[in-house]
Symmetry: D2
Subunit: 438 residues, 4 copies
């Protein structure tokens, strides 16, 4: 975790206090169910639940638990020892028939579930910003580019609408991954419920808002977590895509949009005129990190037999790092979109600078419809287009075409002029927006 790329709420999920609080919730609800099914005395369960309701464990003394763990070298035993000090002798009924992983894995499920809730809210905020700016620029003309080369006109709103659709998909994927990973297992040392009634798991799952795991070993199977982190990697890649778009738009020669530049901010120690797209460059790097956590998560799946603990160290890194980084990145991206400075005049100037070449496709079609073969039409457009290209936009394609005998033989001057109409390209924008924004 890199503090400068971390936000409060997400970080809090991964702090030791949070972990111990969740542990105690799991243990207490488990005790409650054990009382109900007769595994432990009802009074013990009541005492424990009272401790939960009264906040008897608060404030959590992390240093104290660490101290105990230094001796026992076992985290859950350390925690139970600590709990016994806080609750009294009835605490010996805690954790009956359970194994450490019942607590650890269910806790991780709660943490990832909560992290996903924050990420979902992040995505919602990003979608709102994208929708607002997309509608604002629904009909702002700009050049569409393939291969970095001018192609045909689009609107800036379409660019943002595409990003909206992409992040809406990501939100659905996150919801599925969240559901996948949010399960509760209280199934004992090897998953057989040998020493614990299966109803305990059902009860804890219900209380914590998790799905009851149908079959576990000592641990919850790690394909669930792999799917979760892989999904974060996909979201990160979408962040990189939109960040890359902004970086391109802010290039000196393009300059169709800029990250917001606050008055006090210095761009460079050496070149005071520079306004660099540092936020989106930063997002590009953060996306690399979140993607980098996917493979370790995939490698975690193949645990040996009913479990080995190799996954644990990996999760100590990527649990916090992937969620905290992605949360930060989504929020930063939302800020970039929200405050993005857009330059419609510059977009228009760029659009016009190629002497009308971007309309060549329409002329090509018109020529074939006027009876030329595809090959002849292509050749006719290409020879004039090349002249415009080589003039660096000084020559006008429209004028050259009017002067070309073969073209002029097939299309009238007015017909040629009609092919250079910008609105022609935007007639279906409303249809597309209707699909995305309803």
């Amino acid at each position: 975790m890199v503090p400068r790329y971390a936000r409060q709420d997400m970080t809090a999920i991964w702090e030791p206090e949070s972990k111990y609080r969740i542990w105690f919730e799991i243990e207490a609800y488990a005790a409650q169910a054990m009382g109900d099914v007769g595994m432990i005395p009802v009074e013990a369960a009541d005492t424990i639940m009272a401790a939960l309701d009264n906040g008897a464990m608060e404030p959590i003394d992390v240093a104290k638990i660490d101290e105990i763990e230094a001796v026992t070298r076992h985290d859950v035993i350390a925690f139970l020892t600590y709990a016994a000090e806080k609750i009294g002798p009835q605490a010996r009924f805690l954790h009956q028939g359970m194994t450490s992983s019942d607590v650890l894995d269910t806790c991780l499920a709660v943490q990832l579930d909560r992290a996903a809730a924050i990420l979902d809210a992040d995505l919602e905020a990003l979608l709102e910003a994208l929708e607002r700016r997309a509608i604002e620029h629904k009909y702002t003309p700009t050049i569409g580019r393939s291969h970095g080369i001018h192609a045909e006109p689009v609107t800036f709103g379409l660019k943002l609408a595409q990003a909206h659709a992409e992040f809406a998909r990501n939100r659905e994927r996150l919801a599925a991954a969240r559901k996948d990973v949010a399960t509760c297992a209280i199934s004992g040392a090897v998953g057989t419920y040998a020493n614990i009634d299966p109803r305990v798991q059902e009860h804890v799952a219900a209380k914590l808002g998790l799905t009851s795991e149908p079959i576990s070993t000592q641990v919850i199977p790690r394909d669930r977590h792999a799917m979760f982190f892989a999904t974060l990697g996909v979201i990160a890649s979408s962040i990189e895509r939109l960040a890359t778009e902004v970086r391109h738009l802010q290039r000196t020669e393009v300059l169709e949009a800029e990250e917001y530049f606050s008055p006090g901010q210095k761009g460079s120690s050496a070149m005071p005129h520079k306004r660099n797209p540092v936020l989106t460059e930063n997002l590009t790097g953060l996306a690399r990190m979140v993607r980098g956590y996917v493979t370790p998560a995939l490698e975690n799946v193949a645990l040996w037999h009913e479990r080995d603990i190799s996954h644990s160290s990996v999760e100590r890194y990527i649990g916090p790092d992937a969620t905290i980084t992605l949360d930060f990145a989504l929020a930063r991206l939302t800020g970039v979109i929200d405050k993005l400075v857009v330059y419609p005049e510059r977009m228009r100037r760029n659009l016009d600078r190629m002497g009308g070449l971007v309309h060549s496709q329409r002329v090509l079609l018109a020529l074939t419809q006027a009876g030329l073969s595809r090959e002849d039409a292509y050749a006719a457009v290409q020879r004039n287009a090349m002249k415009v290209w080589e003039s660096d936009g000084e020559l006008s394609l429209m004028e050259l075409l009017k002067a070309d005998p073969e073209v002029a033989g097939a299309l009238s001057a007015q017909q040629i002029e009609e092919k250079f109409d910008l609105d022609y390209h935007f007639k279906h924008v409303d249809t597309i927006f209707g699909r995305i924004f309803g």
Copy 2:
């Protein structure tokens, strides 16, 4: 693609003939819709659809198309030129207002959709094999292991039931990923439908069983494909998990199960007695490859502006390689499970070899329930367990416990003996099986 790790049906999807056939379907259905909406003459559309129905393009002459491409250096133009030779002058109405990516991307969607259908069938077959063997070994006792160390008894059926649940999840994930990637875009050079009616896309999508893409640029957005390949990576990781289990079980010292060994097969040129788990080792390697394709797919998402073509070369590799390898791996794994030679006696012997240590958890619980503190109970069990451990299973934990004054003071001999009953562990197996197999 490595021929020895490829099966016929999946490979066929990626052959040039298949690709050109799908291209023509897309172009023909597009022409049909264009005829309907008045973009091209109805007779042209009819001629083209007749060519589709009559198989006029068949047999596809790949060499001929390659020849044309060598000149044009553009694959779709080469194909259209070829089509014109087969269909005649009406072919000039093909591809009107479309861009190459409309064809290429929709074709890739069809290919991945078909590949997913095969993978789904593979998973179904694997699930059947797992279910059959799980039920066969529902109550076959075997030792559960954590950290490679004996823990408590499970049944071999439980191991397979867990794998079943995991692959059932994978099947659902694949279905979601398939739906994600199976979209059709016929939206023109920059996705604005400038020169093509949006209804054309709707029609082609419906005919090909795809979802109509709500917004594309020149290309279908690559987050869809990233999600698809990431999902294959998760499935591959589950394959590695089950393969690793078999490899462990076949170790000389464990030998609880073996891959089927055909009579004619030689295990090693040097050591004729060896029966090596080569299939599951191979699966471990194949899983690495399928996982290795995830990151390139994620890197493909951030195309520049409305598209660049960097994704294309990546997809030429991973489209075939990931699906062909995963198909092969799933089929191989199904074969391994289907014919797995299981040794219940050996499982039982391994289970018993630790002098009853695997029952120590039950004794621990009984002691705490009989009033000992958790710490005292733990100490009492541990001191006797260590003696058994150091005897390498020669001493019996049950006998030592009976002879331990502190233990004997809390539990009668009969109570102690009851704690060593194997069936105790299996009382909830039926509940678990009910969750998995209904």
Copy 3:
């Protein structure tokens, strides 16, 4: 392997004929040494060496060997059976005391060594092209950019010289990785030389130009191969860097350089004026693939005990795929650089278009040297720079500075003008070139 991204010489290394030829070389040289040390009859060794010298195995009948393998299910046994048919009864002395991996791993070392030789030649050719073009454009002024924003002047030759230095490093890394992986092991079933004299390995290594492996298990340790493929991943990343540079330079708005565009080539079916940087986009994708092979190679290191065969399937993919793809990519990149169309006038126009902002750093320095505090100097430059920036290069920074009382109070008009001299920036170009090209 994707045929369109493969070249003849590299592909040939990985064909079955090559493999079997190398196998026979290994077996024959091993037999020669065995004859010398008395492990097998000298006549047998002589017969076998004669078969090697006479090409008795040629032409290699791959189909026949496949047929035998279909029965034996063991590739080396199949090959030895085939060899016996070609050579006669003395062939029974082949492979004495050896294990299959002795042949397979040493063969892989030979293949990777040969592949590295081709890659080394590829790098040499690329370095030559880079040097030639760098010297050609040693003093061609162009704008240096950070964050995609104009910074200060550089020369186009410097860009290429940097690439040269980077690929020269890569060539050294490849040489080290090649040496690392080019080892020979003939050490028997578990690496103890139990049934084979260690001198056999020494002899075979010497004959094949490999290092004799100091200690192996059944296999050559895979950290060597991991290092090799990781190095290819670094080289691929450098390819992506240079390819990305070209893609940027070819953007419509930048257009400082272009990939060579052959007269017959069509850029797009829809937009005939387009010249797309498809080669360098393609290289970007190929780089992703070569990088994607690094992780499987790293995962291959942790074989179980003296070996498991999980690495083998991975190597069947990445051995050919990584080397063939990288060879193709290096050759393609060399072609791009060799024929790159460079537009010095356009570079100059871009350089000038920001109204002299790129010289602001020099003014800033001059002001501090003239006694202004860093903060005051920064503010003075920044307020004028912002005006130029907002004028989109219409205003001249030099003129504004002359008119600024605070600046004019510190620097004379002539002093200000001197700060806008381009040659000032290039005074150390020769020094840098001296370091790179000697």
Copy 4:
């Protein structure tokens, strides 16, 4: 960074104090050189050098610098402002003609160089432990395994000697990667030395023990860093290999070695008899993390033009995380090897348990040397070996062979018995040790 997987010395390298200290060293030595070459007044240089010598910046007030950065939003400017407060007006001559990256990148080089020094010492300690234990167990017989199946005898010392050779290679690779990454660039905004004499860079490099970078842009090229982190990934994979070996050896059924288990340590809350290989399982997970950082480092290479800042966030994670984790892992592995509890009797028992099958290869060879064809010899050994295999080691291969007419016809009883001699396998152990340990 996960505190529990971090050690003091390595962590200190990455603390803000260290960074600022290195920054000041760079700036001060640069000023010294600038004084010498006449770029700034000698008195200014002297004042600055005196500040360095007197520790005028100490103690570094990180909070104060952070405060300034919160306003300037630029880290180097914040630091220079802070330095001016500490040193006085002469500080305005700091950083003349330099760009932030000159400081940041050279600082990173120093940090990675120091990190590599620690890792080198870690490797040295590991090599010492491996050598000591290898020599201790030079002739401790144990079974060699391929595919997890018993193959032929090796010694435990050989296993450790192999690991020694592997880590010795890793140490060489690290040295090369360290040299690659330890370079100094003080070349200005775009690497042209426009405003700074190239001798400044030479001087700073010499003072800091770095190589002078022959050509940089605004930044030191990231192929250097990619190579560095890729090398760490290879080392991590070797750690995984050795950790996996220990995990296998500690399995209940194998139990040939164990991680040291301190008296106070509890293995499991539920199963007090368990001694789990938790350190090596942990190392397996840590290896996944270090490997996971390789791809982001490779993706960092392709910066745009003369630089973009996407690499920076990645390096804020992986700079500390990869080096701290690897340092911890190497130290942990050294501890594991150093204190590994080895059970030679158990090794011997495992070796003998297969009824002599591990000697079958020798018999096979003897039979072919006695004149049987390879096929007949193989069949003879195989039919007897299968009987032993099916008896689970109850039958003796030696006795069965003596009773087999075909075998007995070729080899005398004494000849057969000789083939079952263990020492036969170890006759070259000394040769191998000589190669590794000299």
